[in-house]
Symmetry: C2
Subunit: 219 residues, 2 copies
DNA sequence: CAATTAACCTATCAATGATAGGCTATCATT
DNA sequence: AATGATAGCCTATCATTGATAGGTTAATTG
């Protein structure tokens, strides 16, 4: 019983210890999502790319949304890593916020699907919990920004929270707009990004000098 | 010509000349979209609300997307009207940008579905042309902001375009974030909005004084 | 070797957008 | 008033898509 066929699915790949199915599925999904957008990819497409039948996906994930969620979650984790590892604690506040901003924008432009799910309400299905998990992962990125605002304001405060949220809104607007209006005649995208981030840096630094000027909090 | 039965569909409503079917469909769709989101409303739901069969929709619109597009297009038209009529040409630049900003944000929060289609890439189907029409209508709102930037900069220029786009990104970010992260613990939404718009006003006014200060462009 | 388990596959659902074809009533023309 | 055209609807039916049911194969375990 040599049985040469049939087993191919598993023994196809020579030696490299064959990536587990679950990972293969996530990889295939990631690539398809990046190419066609989260909502233009069917479970059948994912399955075909992996080389298995469509129902087989459900042996590894409870539903389509879980696949989307996991792909996006992993992406948001890399965002957090990008933001934290890029910050040199010895650099000036201004340098750090600029670095943070550039990394944030770069991530958004390179990980559209995940960014949309986390921060643009791009829903992957009717269920909220999955999206909330992705958003939660994304919010860790906000925490990094918030920490900078705390430092600029010399401690946590109402104003400090407002500052952080305002800067977040501005930089998110940049990413969101670039993603959504790709064919808009931007004067000069790179210049636009740099300029916009510069303005945010100004905003943060203004708060910083205001705080260190009087050198005394009111109370 | 008594003929009391059957004709009800048309003679049901007493005198008010019965709104045409097409309008009824758009009204029903608008309400459902506002309630459940553009992508969570089926053609059957729309039809049921109007009181006709689902295939009958296709006598008035080529497809579902056309219904979405028309609903959103009309909404974006009201945005343009809101922005233009609210601007008192005699008011200060600062007053006008603040008014513009507040109206823009208010519109976005009250017309989520349309705003998402126009500026957040919320696709109503696979077809792009319909979405482009909606975005085009939305871009007229940007033109109003752009005009303010031109005024602040004392004429069109590269910097003026950058200024307008930067302000647009910031205010769009505010709307987009509030729409997408509804459960985020915003310190104080109204304060956040006002503060954010104030900062945009500063940005615009700074460009204005810079221009009128030296009183000479660097040719 | 038997039993368990993991991973698949085929067949099939239900929901959804869309099409085909026929019925009814109004209206213009004779 | 009879006739033909047209508008507007309806029932039946598709194809696509996410998801489930039930059975089969093969590796693991006792």
């Amino acid at each position: 019983m040599p049985k040469p066929g049939l087993k191919e699915t598993v023994t196809d790949c020579p030696a490299p210890a064959q990536q587990p199915r679950r990972e293969q599925i996530l990889d295939a999904a990631l690539e398809l999502f990046a190419h066609h957008g989260l909502n233009n990819v069917t479970t059948r497409q994912i399955a075909q790319r992996v080389g298995i039948s469509q129902p087989s996906l459900y042996a590894h994930f409870p539903n389509r949304e879980a696949i989307c969620a996991e792909v996006c979650l992993r992406a948001m984790d890399t965002l957090y890593v990008m933001l934290t590892t890029a910050l040199d604690p010895l650099a000036s506040l201004r340098t750090r916020i600029i670095t943070l901003g550039r990394n944030y924008v770069q991530f958004g432009l390179n990980n559209e699907a995940a960014y949309r799910v986390a921060f643009m309400g791009d829903v992957t299905g009717d269920e909220l919990p999955e999206r909330d998990r992705v958003m939660g992962a994304g919010l860790r990125a906000y925490e990094v920004l918030y920490a900078l605002a705390v430092e600029a304001c010399g401690g946590e405060s109402h104003d400090c929270a407002l500052l952080a949220q305002s800067i977040w809104a501005s930089i998110h607007g940049l990413v969101s707009l670039l993603l959504s209006c790709r064919e808009f005649p931007w004067v000069d995208i790179d210049g636009f990004i740099d300029r916009h981030i510069d303005i945010l840096a100004d905003q943060l630094c203004r708060a910083s000098v205001q705080q260190s000027g009087p050198s005394m909090r009111q109370i």
